[in-house]
Amino acid sequence: MMLRRIFSTARLEFLIALRNRWVGIAAAMMILFALVLSLAGAAPSGAMAADRLSVTVASLTSLAVYLVPLIALLISFDAIAGEVERGTLPLHLTYPLGRGELLLGKLGAQVAVLALAVSLGYGVAAVVGFVGDGVAAVAGLGALWRLVWTSVLLGAVFVSLGHMMSCLARRPSGAAGMAIGLWLVAIVLYDLGLLAAVVADNGGRFTASAFPWLLVLNPADAFRIFNLAASEAVGAAAGLAGAASAIALWKPLASLLVWPALAALLARAAFGRVQP
């Protein structure tokens, strides 16, 4: 029964995302960027990598760190605040549908939209790889597959964080602002801050002990480290991820696995405070 309610909610949300063009927009963004990167982005890596697809995966990783959380927040910020504004929330909550079930349904649909978008985008990269390199591109498929499922996990984290913003703001405009703020802080400023701290520390205790953990604690950085470290294309990555190549693989993986659940719990807690 519970699953049926969650699935029905997810189905409806997916329909809404489809008709609001979010499915199309998300897929178009991913396909466009994957196409540009796989056609042109391989150039700077030179002779480092064995095949073009592996190199493309490294470029796609750097791009996905920005794009996947952004798309996730864009499709999720309206989830609760929009229902509050339209006045559809009170009715939903009088049905035999728990708040957790409602959130899980929305999460499921929005993660499905993201999964579709990244699969199509990365699929285009694979096609370009095979067209360019022929069978040799098979070598890059493992890395590409890893990129797909880690992108979905990263997306799930930010969809739930978007839901949390939606609950805290209660108005769509406020939720949109908070979502963009979160994106800036988590994706852009966090790394800049760490970089500044590492430079100031100049190889001291912070860089050795705190820095690797702080890097892994951010799901976006965990995503980048895991993908780059797991493939042989680490050399293609510059900056923080390169510096963190010494981090054991299980740490970013654990971060990527724990964060979706943690973010969903945070969203549920925030939803509990919303009075319809």
Binding site: R5, L12, G87, P90, T94, Q275, P276
Partner: protein, 300 residues
């Protein structure tokens, strides 16, 4: 059997008491209208019954279940004031979803929409619906699965008179099959003769709870008697009814007087006694709006 029991229900917002120790019951098959001005506490009371907000004191019981519990939700249907739905969905999709949430066959959506007169529009997006049509979608979802208790917040606002009549006919069918109905309204005229009991909220307090006849008796407002003088008899009529107020217009010479309920036979006798002077007469009982205004004002 009592399906809904409120006892000493109290709710405050920022130190302001919105609902003050309200006692109310609704039995199976009974239709109770909740009346009150804007801000009298009607919507707050309904949200407490639905478990959307928590009471500060007192209790709500829905056939023994607490408000908002799974047991209560399974038995309650709710129609919000200005029912709203996502504009991108069609009527069928929306109702099918609600059916699934209640564990029922989503293929019943078509029949439900047809029942509220939306058969033609069922496959169109709700964004293209008029306000009255959205209200009908709201009604359709409230009819799902023969609920034991229906909570309807201003259900007929936005409906035209014909739809309104159809709505009350649907409600009568439900009540006949044992559904308890609690509905809110601004006006007594609207719910007259369609409800078993009327409860009036004024500034958070329940100031009346009874049948229309009981409310009428309790208000004890005078009736209004209109007399039209026969030709040339105006002066005599004024002499016979010195308490009357005289008014002359194109229709003739009129006299209007108030008549307390207990004196209505005496006044009838006086009219009969003055039969030669009276061309015609009307007796108006106090209007429902008068009664409602009187009760609300007395409470304040």
């Amino acid at each position: 059997m009592r399906l809904l029991t409120l006892s000493q229900l109290t709710k405050c917002y920022d130190g302001h008491t919105v609902l003050d120790a309200v006692d109310l019951t609704v039995a199976a098959g009974e239709t109770v209208a909740l009346l009150g001005h804007n801000g009298a506490g009607k919507s707050t009371l309904m949200k407490l019954v639905l478990g959307l907000i928590q009471a500060d004191a007192g209790s709500v019981s829905i056939a023994g279940h607490g408000p908002g519990s799974a047991g209560a939700r399974a038995q309650i249907a709710y129609l919000p004031e200005n029912a709203a739905f996502h504009p991108a969905l069609t009527g069928t999709e929306q109702i099918a979803h609600f059916l699934r949430l209640r564990g029922l066959d989503p293929r019943g959506a078509g029949a439900l929409l047809a029942k509220v007169g939306l058969k033609e529009a069922a496959r169109r997006r709700i964004g293209t619906y008029s306000k009255g049509m959205r209200q009908r979608v709201g009604l359709a979802q409230a009819l799902i699965g023969a609920p034991k208790l229906m909570v309807l917040d201003e259900p007929t606002s936005g409906l035209d008179p014909v739809s309104r009549r159809e709505f009350y006919a649907l409600l009568a069918d439900l009540a006949a099959s044992g559904t308890a109905v609690l509905l809110s309204s601004h006006a007594l005229t609207e719910v007259e003769a369609r409800t078993d009991r009327i409860a009036i909220l004024s500034q958070g307090k329940l100031v009346a709870d009874g049948s229309l006849a009981a409310l009428r008796a309790a208000a004890d407002l005078p009736m209004t008697v209109h007399l039209r003088a026969a030709a040339g008899q105006a002066q005599a009529l004024v002499a016979a009814f010195p308490e009357g107020v005289r008014r002359v217009d194109a229709g003739g010479d009129h006299l209007t007087l108030n008549c307390p309920q207990v004196e209505k036979f005496a006044v009838m006798d006086r009219i009969r006694g003055a039969a030669d002077q009276v061309a015609d007469f009307d007796i108006h009982p106090p209007s429902l709006d008068d009664i409602y205004a009187h009760i609300s004002r007395r409470a304040a």
